[in-house]
Symmetry: C2
Subunit: 221 residues, 2 copies
């Protein structure tokens, strides 16, 4: 369910502010969704609420974590240590619960060997030996567009089964590899679309943008 991470973010902030219990109405208001929707969503995971009282925040976070597969550790490799890669390597998002940056990759000799947040930048050729130590779950591509496909192939060869692509390039990956795009230009386009039309913000769906598993068929011969 695509709204779970949104709830999670809100619940975490509630936790930080010391709130221990929350109603579907409140959660819905913060997530900008209907209260009934919140209840439906949460009831799919089980009956976690207390009638008349609401949901226990800490317990809920834990349950959602389990649903999101956050009850295990995910190792992340960042490929392309430019401005963006550096930003991500140091960012809170990756330092977050259950995600560890396990490797940084770049081809530039001037960058290789640099230490960012305790991790050494290494050459793509080292990928096999890196994987020998720790298997890598998620690859983050922050390279220039022209080399994004090549980097994706390398990561997939190294056994990475999920790719998060920040490069403005449509990538082709083998079946079974999960591919997701975060694209600045697309984000801006969506904003201009809604703003240009003075729209009511469109559907409240927020998360989905998953693209793959399964083949992007090659063009015609």
């Amino acid at each position: 369910m695509a709204r779970l991470p949104v709830y999670q973010r809100i619940l975490e902030e509630l936790l930080r502010s010391g709130t221990s219990t929350v109603s579907s109405e409140l959660l819905g208001a913060a997530a900008q969704v209907n209260a009934a929707k919140v209840r439906k969503d949460l009831s799919l995971l089980g009956s976690f609420g207390t009638r008349g009282a609401g949901y226990d925040v800490a317990f809920l976070v834990e349950q959602i974590d389990r649903q999101l597969g956050l009850d295990r550790e995910w190792t992340v490799v960042i490929a392309g240590i430019g401005n963006l890669g550096r930003a991500l390597a140091r960012s809170q998002g990756f330092a977050a619960r259950n995600f560890t940056v396990a490797a940084l990759i770049d081809t530039d000799p001037a960058i290789i060997g640099e230490r960012i947040d305790g991790i050494d930048v290494r050459h793509p050729d080292d990928l096999p030996s890196i994987v020998a130590d720790t298997s890598l779950s998620i690859g983050v591509i922050t390279t220039p567009a022209p080399v994004a496909q090549r980097v994706a192939d390398l990561l997939v060869d190294a056994g990475v089964r999920s790719l998060l692509n920040f490069a403005p390039r449509v990538l082709d990956v083998p079946p079974g590899v999960l591919l997701r795009y975060v694209d600045l230009s697309m984000e801006l386009q969506v904003m201009s679309f809604y703003q240009a039309r003075q729209l009511d913000a469109g559907p409240d769906a927020r998360m989905p943008r998953i693209r793959s598993i399964g083949r992007t068929p090659a063009g015609p011969s």
Copy 2:
């Protein structure tokens, strides 16, 4: 329609590769959506295809641009010139067609005055005078989470009506202001969700994550 920017990205790559015409089947394959869906989507904008032949790529790009509100210039202000802000300021995404970075904002005296990609970093206090020159359409928040809300308020006060928030914080904005989140930790959570369940990538929807216009009601008193 949330899939338009996806089509746009693919069409641009087709243009670059010299393809002048494309079928709904091909476009659908690249965008990972059903061919019928592509036709439905495009037919909502008008009848642009040629039966038996397909769509003219260049013409289609132009039509979609118009739908996305990209027939005018959008000015972007980036608030928070850390690693991420710098990356975005220099990034291709913002250099793209119809988006111009018009201002960079930070409070750090060590950063103010620095020139990035031809734009001077200025203090938030200068916002009014900046707006006097060029009105700002879209605000991009790349500050640390704790100050994100304050920055959002400042931008809104300066007349910015659309916010793209990279800070891991739920923001509250007045009605009528469009708010959109790009959140690393959420992106990762979605990946882990799908990978943990070996899911088929879920719904092919990709873009929507629009959050606002309309009030985030304040909590109970």
